[in-house]
Protein backbone atom coordinates (compact mmCIF):
# COMPACT_ATOMS: atom_id res chain seq x y z
CA UNK A 1 0.00 0.00 0.00
CA UNK A 2 1.89 3.02 -1.23
CA UNK A 3 1.67 6.61 -0.21
CA UNK A 4 -0.10 7.63 -3.42
CA UNK A 5 -2.92 5.19 -2.76
CA UNK A 6 -3.35 6.47 0.79
CA UNK A 7 -3.36 10.10 -0.28
CA UNK A 8 -5.98 9.41 -2.96
CA UNK A 9 -8.12 7.74 -0.31
CA UNK A 10 -7.63 10.66 2.06
CA UNK A 11 -8.85 12.95 -0.68
CA UNK A 12 -11.79 10.64 -1.34
CA UNK A 13 -12.62 10.87 2.34
CA UNK A 14 -12.56 14.65 2.06
CA UNK A 15 -14.89 14.53 -0.95
CA UNK A 16 -17.30 12.28 0.92
CA UNK A 17 -16.94 14.52 3.95
CA UNK A 18 -17.99 17.45 1.78
CA UNK A 19 -21.52 16.08 1.59
CA UNK A 20 -21.67 15.73 5.35
CA UNK A 21 -20.37 19.28 5.70
CA UNK A 22 -23.05 20.66 3.36
CA UNK A 23 -25.83 18.69 5.04
CA UNK A 24 -24.77 19.35 8.61
CA UNK A 25 -24.30 23.07 7.89
CA UNK A 26 -27.93 23.25 6.79
CA UNK A 27 -29.07 21.09 9.70
CA UNK A 28 -27.13 23.15 12.19
CA UNK A 29 -28.28 26.60 11.06
CA UNK A 30 -31.89 25.43 11.00
CA UNK A 31 -31.47 23.97 14.45
CA UNK A 32 -29.68 27.01 15.81
CA UNK A 33 -32.42 29.33 14.63
CA UNK A 34 -35.62 27.31 14.95
CA UNK A 35 -34.69 24.71 17.53
CA UNK A 36 -35.89 22.05 15.11
CA UNK A 37 -33.88 18.98 14.22
CA UNK A 38 -34.91 18.57 10.64
CA UNK A 39 -35.45 14.85 10.12
CA UNK A 40 -36.57 15.61 6.59
CA UNK A 41 -33.05 16.79 5.75
CA UNK A 42 -32.07 13.47 4.20
CA UNK A 43 -35.30 13.41 2.21
CA UNK A 44 -34.54 16.92 0.91
CA UNK A 45 -31.08 15.72 -0.13
CA UNK A 46 -32.73 12.88 -2.02
CA UNK A 47 -35.15 15.38 -3.55
CA UNK A 48 -32.16 17.40 -4.80
CA UNK A 49 -30.72 14.31 -6.46
CA UNK A 50 -34.06 13.55 -8.14
CA UNK A 51 -34.35 17.18 -9.29
CA UNK A 52 -30.94 16.86 -10.95
CA UNK A 53 -31.92 13.50 -12.43
CA UNK A 54 -35.15 14.91 -13.86
CA UNK A 55 -33.46 17.99 -15.28
CA UNK A 56 -30.50 16.20 -16.81
CA UNK A 57 -31.72 12.74 -17.78
CA UNK A 58 -35.40 13.39 -18.49
CA UNK A 59 -35.37 16.93 -19.87
CA UNK A 60 -31.75 16.66 -21.10
CA UNK A 61 -30.63 19.90 -19.50
CA UNK A 62 -27.02 20.59 -18.60
CA UNK A 63 -25.53 19.59 -15.27
CA UNK A 64 -24.81 23.24 -14.49
CA UNK A 65 -28.51 24.00 -14.82
CA UNK A 66 -29.24 21.18 -12.38
CA UNK A 67 -26.69 22.54 -9.92
CA UNK A 68 -28.41 25.91 -9.90
CA UNK A 69 -32.05 24.83 -10.14
CA UNK A 70 -32.04 21.86 -7.72
CA UNK A 71 -31.10 23.91 -4.64
CA UNK A 72 -33.67 26.54 -5.62
CA UNK A 73 -36.46 23.98 -6.04
CA UNK A 74 -35.59 22.13 -2.84
CA UNK A 75 -35.21 25.44 -1.00
CA UNK A 76 -38.70 26.36 -2.17
CA UNK A 77 -40.03 23.04 -0.87
CA UNK A 78 -38.37 23.87 2.45
CA UNK A 79 -39.95 27.32 2.52
CA UNK A 80 -43.39 25.83 1.87
CA UNK A 81 -42.83 23.22 4.60
CA UNK A 82 -41.80 25.83 7.13
CA UNK A 83 -44.46 28.39 6.37
CA UNK A 84 -47.39 25.97 6.19
CA UNK A 85 -46.62 23.27 8.76
CA UNK A 86 -43.65 23.75 11.04
CA UNK A 87 -44.74 27.26 11.96
CA UNK A 88 -47.83 25.90 13.70
CA UNK A 89 -45.84 24.03 16.31
CA UNK A 90 -43.19 26.53 17.47
CA UNK A 91 -44.93 27.17 20.76
CA UNK A 92 -45.06 23.48 21.69
CA UNK A 93 -42.22 21.33 23.04
CA UNK A 94 -39.49 20.95 20.41
CA UNK A 95 -40.04 17.26 19.88
CA UNK A 96 -43.39 17.81 18.16
CA UNK A 97 -41.68 19.64 15.33
CA UNK A 98 -39.08 16.93 15.16
CA UNK A 99 -41.81 14.31 14.82
CA UNK A 100 -43.49 16.45 12.18
CA UNK A 101 -40.32 16.54 10.10
CA UNK A 102 -40.02 12.76 10.55
CA UNK A 103 -43.52 12.45 9.09
CA UNK A 104 -42.55 14.78 6.25
CA UNK A 105 -39.50 12.64 5.59
CA UNK A 106 -41.64 9.53 5.16
CA UNK A 107 -44.11 11.48 3.04
CA UNK A 108 -41.45 12.87 0.67
CA UNK A 109 -39.67 9.52 0.33
CA UNK A 110 -42.85 7.62 -0.39
CA UNK A 111 -44.10 10.31 -2.76
CA UNK A 112 -40.91 10.06 -4.83
CA UNK A 113 -41.03 6.27 -4.60
CA UNK A 114 -44.56 6.28 -6.08
CA UNK A 115 -43.64 8.68 -8.90
CA UNK A 116 -40.21 7.36 -9.85
CA UNK A 117 -40.54 3.73 -8.68
CA UNK A 118 -38.37 2.34 -5.87
CA UNK A 119 -35.71 1.19 -8.36
CA UNK A 120 -32.39 3.04 -8.43
CA UNK A 121 -31.67 5.34 -11.36
CA UNK A 122 -28.21 5.62 -12.91
CA UNK A 123 -26.72 9.06 -13.26
CA UNK A 124 -23.59 9.53 -15.32
CA UNK A 125 -20.77 11.83 -14.43
CA UNK A 126 -21.21 14.95 -16.57
CA UNK A 127 -18.87 14.99 -19.57
CA UNK A 128 -16.99 18.12 -18.59
CA UNK A 129 -15.91 16.40 -15.36
CA UNK A 130 -14.72 13.11 -16.82
CA UNK A 131 -11.10 12.23 -16.31
CA UNK A 132 -8.59 13.12 -13.68
CA UNK A 133 -6.63 16.12 -12.66
CA UNK A 134 -2.90 15.98 -12.02
CA UNK A 135 -2.17 17.46 -8.61
CA UNK A 136 1.57 16.90 -9.05
CA UNK A 137 1.89 14.15 -6.45
CA UNK A 138 -1.20 12.23 -7.52
CA UNK A 139 -4.06 11.99 -10.01
CA UNK A 140 -7.48 12.87 -8.64
CA UNK A 141 -10.87 12.58 -10.41
CA UNK A 142 -11.95 15.99 -11.65
CA UNK A 143 -15.47 15.65 -10.35
CA UNK A 144 -14.46 14.95 -6.77
CA UNK A 145 -12.08 17.87 -6.87
CA UNK A 146 -14.96 20.03 -8.08
CA UNK A 147 -17.08 18.92 -5.09
CA UNK A 148 -14.26 19.84 -2.72
CA UNK A 149 -13.90 23.29 -4.24
CA UNK A 150 -17.66 23.98 -4.21
CA UNK A 151 -17.97 22.89 -0.59
CA UNK A 152 -14.99 24.96 0.49
CA UNK A 153 -16.44 28.06 -1.18
CA UNK A 154 -19.87 27.47 0.29
CA UNK A 155 -18.57 26.86 3.79
CA UNK A 156 -16.53 30.07 3.68
CA UNK A 157 -19.48 31.91 2.14
CA UNK A 158 -21.86 30.76 4.87
CA UNK A 159 -19.38 31.66 7.56
CA UNK A 160 -18.98 35.15 6.06
CA UNK A 161 -22.73 35.48 5.65
CA UNK A 162 -23.47 34.54 9.25
CA UNK A 163 -20.66 36.50 10.84
CA UNK A 164 -20.34 39.59 8.62
CA UNK A 165 -23.72 40.53 7.14
CA UNK A 166 -26.64 42.27 8.80
CA UNK A 167 -28.98 39.37 8.11
CA UNK A 168 -26.37 37.07 9.58
CA UNK A 169 -26.37 39.19 12.71
CA UNK A 170 -30.15 38.79 12.94
CA UNK A 171 -29.75 35.04 12.58
CA UNK A 172 -27.09 34.92 15.28
CA UNK A 173 -29.23 37.03 17.57
CA UNK A 174 -32.25 34.87 16.82
CA UNK A 175 -30.25 31.80 17.78
CA UNK A 176 -29.71 33.23 21.23
CA UNK A 177 -33.12 34.77 21.86
CA UNK A 178 -35.61 34.91 19.02
CA UNK A 179 -38.34 36.52 21.12
CA UNK A 180 -36.06 39.42 21.95
CA UNK A 181 -35.19 39.92 18.29
CA UNK A 182 -38.89 39.94 17.51
CA UNK A 183 -39.48 42.51 20.24
CA UNK A 184 -36.79 44.73 18.70
CA UNK A 185 -38.94 45.12 15.62
CA UNK A 186 -37.36 42.59 13.27
CA UNK A 187 -39.76 40.23 11.52
CA UNK A 188 -38.22 37.08 12.87
CA UNK A 189 -40.77 34.75 11.30
CA UNK A 190 -39.59 35.77 7.81
CA UNK A 191 -36.03 35.08 8.90
CA UNK A 192 -37.14 31.66 10.15
CA UNK A 193 -38.60 30.84 6.76
CA UNK A 194 -35.51 32.09 4.97
CA UNK A 195 -33.16 30.09 7.17
CA UNK A 196 -35.17 26.92 6.68
CA UNK A 197 -35.22 27.52 2.94
CA UNK A 198 -31.46 28.05 2.97
CA UNK A 199 -30.79 24.87 4.90
CA UNK A 200 -33.10 22.93 2.59
CA UNK A 201 -31.36 24.47 -0.43
CA UNK A 202 -27.98 23.31 0.86
CA UNK A 203 -29.37 19.79 1.25
CA UNK A 204 -30.74 20.00 -2.30
CA UNK A 205 -27.36 21.08 -3.61
CA UNK A 206 -25.65 18.24 -1.78
CA UNK A 207 -28.13 15.84 -3.37
CA UNK A 208 -27.54 17.22 -6.87
CA UNK A 209 -23.77 17.01 -6.34
CA UNK A 210 -24.03 13.45 -5.02
CA UNK A 211 -26.17 12.19 -7.91
CA UNK A 212 -23.28 11.51 -10.35
CA UNK A 213 -21.37 9.52 -7.74
CA UNK A 214 -24.00 6.87 -7.12
CA UNK A 215 -27.28 5.42 -8.31
CA UNK A 216 -30.07 7.52 -6.92
CA UNK A 217 -33.00 5.87 -5.15
CA UNK A 218 -35.88 7.11 -2.98
CA UNK A 219 -34.39 6.00 0.34
CA UNK A 220 -30.86 7.33 -0.21
CA UNK A 221 -31.51 10.09 2.32
CA UNK A 222 -32.12 7.86 5.32
CA UNK A 223 -28.56 6.59 5.72
CA UNK A 224 -26.98 9.96 5.15
CA UNK A 225 -29.37 11.55 7.65
CA UNK A 226 -28.12 9.39 10.52
CA UNK A 227 -24.53 9.94 9.43
CA UNK A 228 -25.20 13.69 9.45
CA UNK A 229 -26.59 13.35 12.96
CA UNK A 230 -23.34 11.68 13.95
CA UNK A 231 -21.49 14.64 12.40
CA UNK A 232 -23.37 17.19 14.47
CA UNK A 233 -23.11 15.09 17.63
CA UNK A 234 -19.34 14.90 17.14
CA UNK A 235 -18.90 18.51 16.03
CA UNK A 236 -21.41 20.07 18.38
CA UNK A 237 -24.82 21.32 17.33
CA UNK A 238 -25.13 24.94 16.23
CA UNK A 239 -21.46 25.38 15.35
CA UNK A 240 -20.23 25.95 11.80
CA UNK A 241 -16.71 24.81 12.62
CA UNK A 242 -18.11 21.80 14.38
CA UNK A 243 -19.97 20.85 11.21
CA UNK A 244 -16.87 21.18 9.07
CA UNK A 245 -14.62 19.26 11.44
CA UNK A 246 -17.26 16.60 12.13
CA UNK A 247 -18.01 16.23 8.43
CA UNK A 248 -14.37 15.68 7.55
CA UNK A 249 -13.89 13.19 10.40
CA UNK A 250 -16.94 11.14 9.41
CA UNK A 251 -16.01 11.21 5.71
CA UNK A 252 -12.48 10.01 6.48
CA UNK A 253 -13.62 7.36 8.95
CA UNK A 254 -16.04 5.84 6.44
CA UNK A 255 -13.54 5.91 3.57
CA UNK A 256 -10.69 4.50 5.65
CA UNK A 257 -12.98 1.93 7.22
CA UNK A 258 -13.96 0.58 3.81
CA UNK A 259 -10.30 0.06 2.93
CA UNK A 260 -8.85 -1.27 6.14
CA UNK A 261 -11.71 -3.13 7.76
CA UNK A 262 -14.77 -3.50 5.50
CA UNK A 263 -17.06 -5.37 7.92
CA UNK A 264 -16.82 -2.53 10.41
CA UNK A 265 -16.84 0.32 7.89
CA UNK A 266 -20.37 1.41 8.66
CA UNK A 267 -20.00 0.95 12.40
CA UNK A 268 -16.76 2.85 12.90
CA UNK A 269 -18.40 6.30 13.01
CA UNK A 270 -20.84 5.17 15.70
CA UNK A 271 -18.01 3.83 17.82
CA UNK A 272 -16.26 7.16 17.40
CA UNK A 273 -19.49 8.91 18.36
CA UNK A 274 -19.75 6.79 21.50
CA UNK A 275 -16.20 7.77 22.42
CA UNK A 276 -17.01 11.45 21.92
CA UNK A 277 -20.13 11.06 24.07
CA UNK A 278 -18.01 9.59 26.84
CA UNK A 279 -15.35 12.29 26.75
CA UNK A 280 -17.20 15.36 25.52
CA UNK A 281 -20.98 14.83 25.61
CA UNK A 282 -21.62 18.15 23.84
CA UNK A 283 -19.23 17.46 20.97
CA UNK A 284 -16.12 19.40 20.04
CA UNK A 285 -17.72 22.83 19.64
CA UNK A 286 -21.05 22.34 21.41
CA UNK A 287 -22.37 25.02 23.73
CA UNK A 288 -23.86 24.42 27.16
CA UNK A 289 -27.60 25.03 27.62
CA UNK A 290 -28.17 25.27 23.88
CA UNK A 291 -31.70 23.93 23.31
CA UNK A 292 -31.20 21.21 25.88
Amino acid sequence: MDIQFISVQLFNGLALGSFYVLLSLGLTIIFGMLGVVNFAHGALYMLGAYCAYTLVQVYSGTFWMALILSPLIVGLVGIVMESTLLRKLYDLPHFYNLLLTFGLMIFIEEFIQIIYSPMGKPFNTPEEFLGSFDLGFMLFPKYRLFILVVTAFLAIGIWLFISKTKLGAVIRAGTDDSEMVDALGIDISKTFTLVFGMGAGLAGLAGALAAPLQNIFPYMGMGILTETFVVVIIGGMGSIFGSILGGIIVGELITMGVIFWPPLANTLIYIFMAAVLLLRPRGFFGRAKFFE
Binding site: F107, T226, E292
Partner: protein, 315 residues
Protein backbone atom coordinates in the same frame (compact mmCIF):
# COMPACT_ATOMS: atom_id res chain seq x y z
CA UNK B 1 -68.74 12.66 47.71
CA UNK B 2 -69.03 9.08 48.79
CA UNK B 3 -71.86 8.33 46.41
CA UNK B 4 -70.11 9.76 43.38
CA UNK B 5 -67.01 7.80 44.19
CA UNK B 6 -69.02 4.59 44.34
CA UNK B 7 -70.70 5.52 41.10
CA UNK B 8 -67.39 6.11 39.34
CA UNK B 9 -66.11 2.83 40.78
CA UNK B 10 -69.08 0.99 39.34
CA UNK B 11 -68.67 2.82 36.09
CA UNK B 12 -65.06 1.69 35.95
CA UNK B 13 -66.14 -1.85 36.65
CA UNK B 14 -68.66 -1.71 33.86
CA UNK B 15 -65.90 -0.47 31.59
CA UNK B 16 -63.82 -3.52 32.43
CA UNK B 17 -66.91 -5.64 32.00
CA UNK B 18 -66.72 -5.35 28.24
CA UNK B 19 -62.98 -4.83 27.98
CA UNK B 20 -62.10 -8.22 29.47
CA UNK B 21 -64.33 -10.23 27.10
CA UNK B 22 -63.04 -8.09 24.24
CA UNK B 23 -59.47 -9.17 24.92
CA UNK B 24 -60.47 -12.78 25.46
CA UNK B 25 -62.38 -12.96 22.19
CA UNK B 26 -60.13 -10.62 20.22
CA UNK B 27 -58.68 -13.37 17.95
CA UNK B 28 -62.21 -14.18 16.78
CA UNK B 29 -62.94 -10.57 15.93
CA UNK B 30 -59.85 -9.99 13.78
CA UNK B 31 -59.57 -11.29 10.17
CA UNK B 32 -57.17 -14.00 11.36
CA UNK B 33 -56.08 -15.14 14.82
CA UNK B 34 -52.47 -14.09 14.46
CA UNK B 35 -53.39 -10.43 13.92
CA UNK B 36 -54.68 -10.30 17.50
CA UNK B 37 -51.29 -11.61 18.69
CA UNK B 38 -49.48 -8.94 16.73
CA UNK B 39 -51.73 -6.24 18.18
CA UNK B 40 -50.91 -7.30 21.72
CA UNK B 41 -47.19 -7.63 21.00
CA UNK B 42 -46.98 -4.04 19.85
CA UNK B 43 -49.21 -3.01 22.75
CA UNK B 44 -46.58 -4.41 25.14
CA UNK B 45 -43.85 -2.58 23.23
CA UNK B 46 -45.75 0.74 23.24
CA UNK B 47 -46.69 0.37 26.91
CA UNK B 48 -43.06 0.10 27.95
CA UNK B 49 -42.08 2.87 25.60
CA UNK B 50 -44.64 5.14 27.23
CA UNK B 51 -42.85 4.83 30.57
CA UNK B 52 -39.79 6.36 28.93
CA UNK B 53 -41.44 8.84 26.55
CA UNK B 54 -44.75 9.67 28.18
CA UNK B 55 -43.76 9.54 31.84
CA UNK B 56 -40.05 10.37 31.87
CA UNK B 57 -40.19 12.71 28.88
CA UNK B 58 -37.32 11.11 26.95
CA UNK B 59 -38.04 10.71 23.25
CA UNK B 60 -36.01 7.80 21.98
CA UNK B 61 -35.73 7.03 18.30
CA UNK B 62 -33.79 3.88 18.97
CA UNK B 63 -36.25 1.53 20.58
CA UNK B 64 -36.25 -0.73 17.58
CA UNK B 65 -32.83 -1.77 18.95
CA UNK B 66 -34.49 -3.44 21.93
CA UNK B 67 -37.40 -4.91 20.02
CA UNK B 68 -34.91 -6.28 17.50
CA UNK B 69 -32.44 -7.44 20.15
CA UNK B 70 -35.20 -9.34 21.93
CA UNK B 71 -36.36 -10.92 18.69
CA UNK B 72 -32.88 -11.90 17.45
CA UNK B 73 -31.59 -13.20 20.76
CA UNK B 74 -34.70 -15.27 21.43
CA UNK B 75 -34.54 -16.59 17.88
CA UNK B 76 -30.87 -17.48 18.15
CA UNK B 77 -31.30 -19.15 21.54
CA UNK B 78 -34.11 -21.31 20.20
CA UNK B 79 -32.38 -22.14 16.92
CA UNK B 80 -28.75 -22.65 17.96
CA UNK B 81 -29.23 -24.06 21.46
CA UNK B 82 -32.73 -25.57 21.20
CA UNK B 83 -33.48 -23.75 24.42
CA UNK B 84 -36.86 -24.20 26.11
CA UNK B 85 -39.28 -21.34 25.62
CA UNK B 86 -38.95 -19.82 29.08
CA UNK B 87 -35.17 -19.84 28.83
CA UNK B 88 -35.45 -18.25 25.42
CA UNK B 89 -37.73 -15.49 26.68
CA UNK B 90 -35.61 -14.80 29.75
CA UNK B 91 -32.39 -14.98 27.75
CA UNK B 92 -33.79 -12.65 25.12
CA UNK B 93 -34.80 -10.11 27.71
CA UNK B 94 -31.43 -10.37 29.48
CA UNK B 95 -29.49 -9.74 26.27
CA UNK B 96 -31.77 -6.80 25.56
CA UNK B 97 -31.16 -5.35 29.01
CA UNK B 98 -27.40 -5.72 28.62
CA UNK B 99 -27.52 -3.80 25.34
CA UNK B 100 -29.88 -1.22 26.83
CA UNK B 101 -27.48 -0.66 29.70
CA UNK B 102 -24.68 0.35 27.32
CA UNK B 103 -26.86 2.34 24.90
CA UNK B 104 -28.74 3.99 27.76
CA UNK B 105 -25.59 4.89 29.68
CA UNK B 106 -24.17 6.66 26.63
CA UNK B 107 -27.44 8.24 25.49
CA UNK B 108 -28.51 9.80 28.78
CA UNK B 109 -25.29 11.78 28.81
CA UNK B 110 -27.00 14.15 26.38
CA UNK B 111 -30.34 15.83 26.75
CA UNK B 112 -33.43 16.76 24.78
CA UNK B 113 -33.01 16.76 21.05
CA UNK B 114 -29.47 15.39 21.27
CA UNK B 115 -30.89 12.33 23.01
CA UNK B 116 -33.14 11.74 20.00
CA UNK B 117 -30.21 11.94 17.60
CA UNK B 118 -27.93 9.72 19.64
CA UNK B 119 -30.53 6.98 20.08
CA UNK B 120 -31.32 7.15 16.37
CA UNK B 121 -27.65 6.83 15.51
CA UNK B 122 -27.31 3.76 17.73
CA UNK B 123 -30.35 2.27 16.05
CA UNK B 124 -28.65 2.63 12.68
CA UNK B 125 -25.50 1.07 14.12
CA UNK B 126 -27.31 -2.05 15.32
CA UNK B 127 -29.10 -2.25 11.99
CA UNK B 128 -25.73 -2.30 10.23
CA UNK B 129 -24.34 -4.88 12.62
CA UNK B 130 -27.29 -7.22 12.01
CA UNK B 131 -27.06 -6.53 8.29
CA UNK B 132 -23.33 -7.24 8.02
CA UNK B 133 -23.12 -10.14 10.44
CA UNK B 134 -25.11 -12.32 8.09
CA UNK B 135 -23.53 -15.53 9.39
CA UNK B 136 -25.31 -15.06 12.68
CA UNK B 137 -28.40 -13.03 11.86
CA UNK B 138 -29.16 -14.01 8.28
CA UNK B 139 -28.43 -10.45 7.19
CA UNK B 140 -30.87 -8.99 4.71
CA UNK B 141 -32.99 -12.16 4.60
CA UNK B 142 -33.69 -12.11 8.30
CA UNK B 143 -33.40 -14.96 10.76
CA UNK B 144 -35.46 -17.88 9.49
CA UNK B 145 -36.83 -20.95 11.19
CA UNK B 146 -37.50 -19.74 14.72
CA UNK B 147 -39.27 -22.72 16.37
CA UNK B 148 -42.12 -22.55 18.85
CA UNK B 149 -41.15 -24.94 21.63
CA UNK B 150 -43.90 -25.96 24.07
CA UNK B 151 -44.24 -24.06 27.31
CA UNK B 152 -44.24 -26.71 30.08
CA UNK B 153 -46.51 -29.27 28.43
CA UNK B 154 -48.64 -26.93 26.36
CA UNK B 155 -47.87 -26.94 22.66
CA UNK B 156 -48.01 -23.57 20.96
CA UNK B 157 -48.44 -24.75 17.41
CA UNK B 158 -51.87 -23.14 17.12
CA UNK B 159 -52.07 -19.37 16.72
CA UNK B 160 -54.85 -19.28 19.29
CA UNK B 161 -52.72 -20.83 22.04
CA UNK B 162 -49.92 -18.43 21.29
CA UNK B 163 -52.40 -15.57 21.54
CA UNK B 164 -53.47 -16.62 25.03
CA UNK B 165 -49.86 -16.95 26.13
CA UNK B 166 -49.26 -13.42 24.84
CA UNK B 167 -52.45 -12.23 26.54
CA UNK B 168 -51.25 -13.56 29.89
CA UNK B 169 -47.90 -11.85 29.44
CA UNK B 170 -49.69 -8.68 28.31
CA UNK B 171 -51.79 -8.59 31.48
CA UNK B 172 -48.70 -9.23 33.63
CA UNK B 173 -46.87 -6.44 31.81
CA UNK B 174 -49.80 -4.08 32.26
CA UNK B 175 -49.94 -4.79 35.99
CA UNK B 176 -46.19 -4.25 36.23
CA UNK B 177 -46.38 -1.00 34.25
CA UNK B 178 -49.27 0.28 36.37
CA UNK B 179 -47.37 -0.63 39.51
CA UNK B 180 -44.33 1.26 38.22
CA UNK B 181 -46.07 4.47 37.15
CA UNK B 182 -48.16 4.72 40.33
CA UNK B 183 -45.25 4.03 42.65
CA UNK B 184 -43.11 6.77 44.22
CA UNK B 185 -40.51 5.81 41.64
CA UNK B 186 -43.03 6.53 38.89
CA UNK B 187 -43.78 9.91 40.43
CA UNK B 188 -40.07 10.67 40.45
CA UNK B 189 -39.92 9.86 36.75
CA UNK B 190 -42.77 12.29 36.11
CA UNK B 191 -40.92 14.97 38.04
CA UNK B 192 -37.99 14.51 35.64
CA UNK B 193 -40.34 15.19 32.77
CA UNK B 194 -41.80 18.37 34.18
CA UNK B 195 -38.58 19.88 35.49
CA UNK B 196 -35.36 17.96 35.52
CA UNK B 197 -33.26 20.66 37.16
CA UNK B 198 -35.69 20.96 40.04
CA UNK B 199 -35.84 17.21 40.49
CA UNK B 200 -32.06 17.23 40.66
CA UNK B 201 -31.95 20.03 43.20
CA UNK B 202 -34.45 18.19 45.42
CA UNK B 203 -31.83 15.48 45.57
CA UNK B 204 -32.87 12.89 43.00
CA UNK B 205 -30.11 11.17 41.14
CA UNK B 206 -31.67 12.05 37.81
CA UNK B 207 -29.17 10.14 35.70
CA UNK B 208 -29.93 6.93 37.55
CA UNK B 209 -33.68 7.42 37.22
CA UNK B 210 -33.36 8.07 33.51
CA UNK B 211 -31.26 4.97 33.05
CA UNK B 212 -33.75 2.87 35.02
CA UNK B 213 -36.61 4.21 32.96
CA UNK B 214 -34.62 3.42 29.83
CA UNK B 215 -33.99 -0.13 31.05
CA UNK B 216 -37.65 -0.68 31.96
CA UNK B 217 -38.82 0.38 28.53
CA UNK B 218 -36.13 -1.79 26.94
CA UNK B 219 -37.35 -4.74 29.03
CA UNK B 220 -40.86 -4.38 27.60
CA UNK B 221 -39.41 -3.88 24.13
CA UNK B 222 -37.21 -6.97 24.40
CA UNK B 223 -40.09 -9.12 25.61
CA UNK B 224 -42.33 -7.85 22.81
CA UNK B 225 -39.56 -8.51 20.31
CA UNK B 226 -39.11 -12.07 21.54
CA UNK B 227 -42.83 -12.72 21.24
CA UNK B 228 -42.76 -11.21 17.77
CA UNK B 229 -40.11 -13.73 16.73
CA UNK B 230 -42.30 -16.56 18.05
CA UNK B 231 -45.34 -15.11 16.35
CA UNK B 232 -43.70 -14.82 12.92
CA UNK B 233 -41.40 -17.87 13.28
CA UNK B 234 -38.80 -15.56 11.78
CA UNK B 235 -37.07 -12.25 12.52
CA UNK B 236 -37.09 -9.73 9.66
CA UNK B 237 -34.15 -7.32 9.50
CA UNK B 238 -36.74 -4.53 9.44
CA UNK B 239 -37.35 -5.00 13.19
CA UNK B 240 -34.12 -3.03 13.69
CA UNK B 241 -35.00 -0.37 11.15
CA UNK B 242 -35.34 3.28 12.12
CA UNK B 243 -38.86 3.13 10.72
CA UNK B 244 -39.67 0.53 13.37
CA UNK B 245 -38.50 3.03 15.99
CA UNK B 246 -40.74 5.61 14.35
CA UNK B 247 -43.68 3.20 14.46
CA UNK B 248 -43.68 2.94 18.23
CA UNK B 249 -43.43 6.73 18.54
CA UNK B 250 -46.44 7.26 16.31
CA UNK B 251 -48.40 4.57 18.15
CA UNK B 252 -47.75 6.46 21.37
CA UNK B 253 -48.70 9.85 19.92
CA UNK B 254 -51.90 8.58 18.31
CA UNK B 255 -52.94 6.88 21.52
CA UNK B 256 -51.92 9.77 23.75
CA UNK B 257 -48.61 9.78 25.59
CA UNK B 258 -48.26 9.57 29.34
CA UNK B 259 -51.45 7.59 29.85
CA UNK B 260 -50.25 3.99 29.47
CA UNK B 261 -53.66 2.95 28.12
CA UNK B 262 -53.34 5.41 25.26
CA UNK B 263 -50.25 3.89 23.63
CA UNK B 264 -51.75 0.40 24.10
CA UNK B 265 -54.80 1.53 22.19
CA UNK B 266 -52.66 3.38 19.64
CA UNK B 267 -50.51 0.31 19.01
CA UNK B 268 -53.50 -1.99 18.58
CA UNK B 269 -55.25 0.50 16.30
CA UNK B 270 -52.20 1.05 14.13
CA UNK B 271 -51.39 -2.65 13.74
CA UNK B 272 -55.01 -3.33 12.85
CA UNK B 273 -55.12 -0.45 10.37
CA UNK B 274 -51.86 -1.54 8.79
CA UNK B 275 -53.24 -5.01 8.26
CA UNK B 276 -56.50 -3.67 6.87
CA UNK B 277 -54.79 -1.20 4.55
CA UNK B 278 -52.19 -3.60 3.20
CA UNK B 279 -55.10 -5.57 1.75
CA UNK B 280 -56.07 -2.56 -0.36
CA UNK B 281 -52.86 -0.80 -1.22
CA UNK B 282 -49.12 -1.41 -1.28
CA UNK B 283 -48.45 2.17 -0.23
CA UNK B 284 -48.89 1.68 3.51
CA UNK B 285 -45.82 3.78 4.27
CA UNK B 286 -47.24 6.70 2.33
CA UNK B 287 -50.39 6.54 4.44
CA UNK B 288 -48.16 6.22 7.49
CA UNK B 289 -46.38 9.45 6.57
CA UNK B 290 -49.65 11.33 6.23
CA UNK B 291 -50.87 9.77 9.48
CA UNK B 292 -47.69 10.90 11.20
CA UNK B 293 -48.06 14.48 9.99
CA UNK B 294 -51.76 14.79 10.78
CA UNK B 295 -51.52 13.18 14.19
CA UNK B 296 -48.64 15.45 15.25
CA UNK B 297 -50.64 18.45 14.04
CA UNK B 298 -54.04 17.50 15.38
CA UNK B 299 -54.00 14.46 17.67
CA UNK B 300 -51.29 15.42 20.13
CA UNK B 301 -53.29 14.40 23.19
CA UNK B 302 -54.27 11.10 21.67
CA UNK B 303 -57.11 10.23 19.36
CA UNK B 304 -59.60 9.35 22.11
CA UNK B 305 -59.19 12.62 24.01
CA UNK B 306 -59.13 14.79 20.89
CA UNK B 307 -62.25 13.19 19.38
CA UNK B 308 -64.06 13.50 22.70
CA UNK B 309 -63.05 17.15 23.05
CA UNK B 310 -63.99 18.10 19.53
CA UNK B 311 -67.23 16.24 18.95
CA UNK B 312 -68.68 15.35 22.31
CA UNK B 313 -67.89 18.39 24.37
CA UNK B 314 -70.89 19.36 26.42
CA UNK B 315 -72.06 22.96 26.88
Amino acid sequence: MGKSRIRSFIKNRWYLGWLIPLFIFLPFLTPHHSLASEMLIFAIFAMGYDILFGYTGLLSFGHAIFFGAGAYSLGLLLIKFQAPLLVGLLGGVSVTLAIALVVGFLSIRVKGIYFVMVTLAFCQMFYFIAFKWAGLTGGDNGLHGVPRPPIFTIHLDSELRLYYLILILFVLCLLLALRIVHSPFGRALQSLKSNEDRAKSIGFNTARFKLLSFLISAFFGGLAGGLYALHLNFVPLETLNIMASGDVVIMSIIGGIGTLYGPIFGAMLLVYLKNLMSGWTAQWNFIMGILFITSVLTLRRGILVEVKERFFRKG
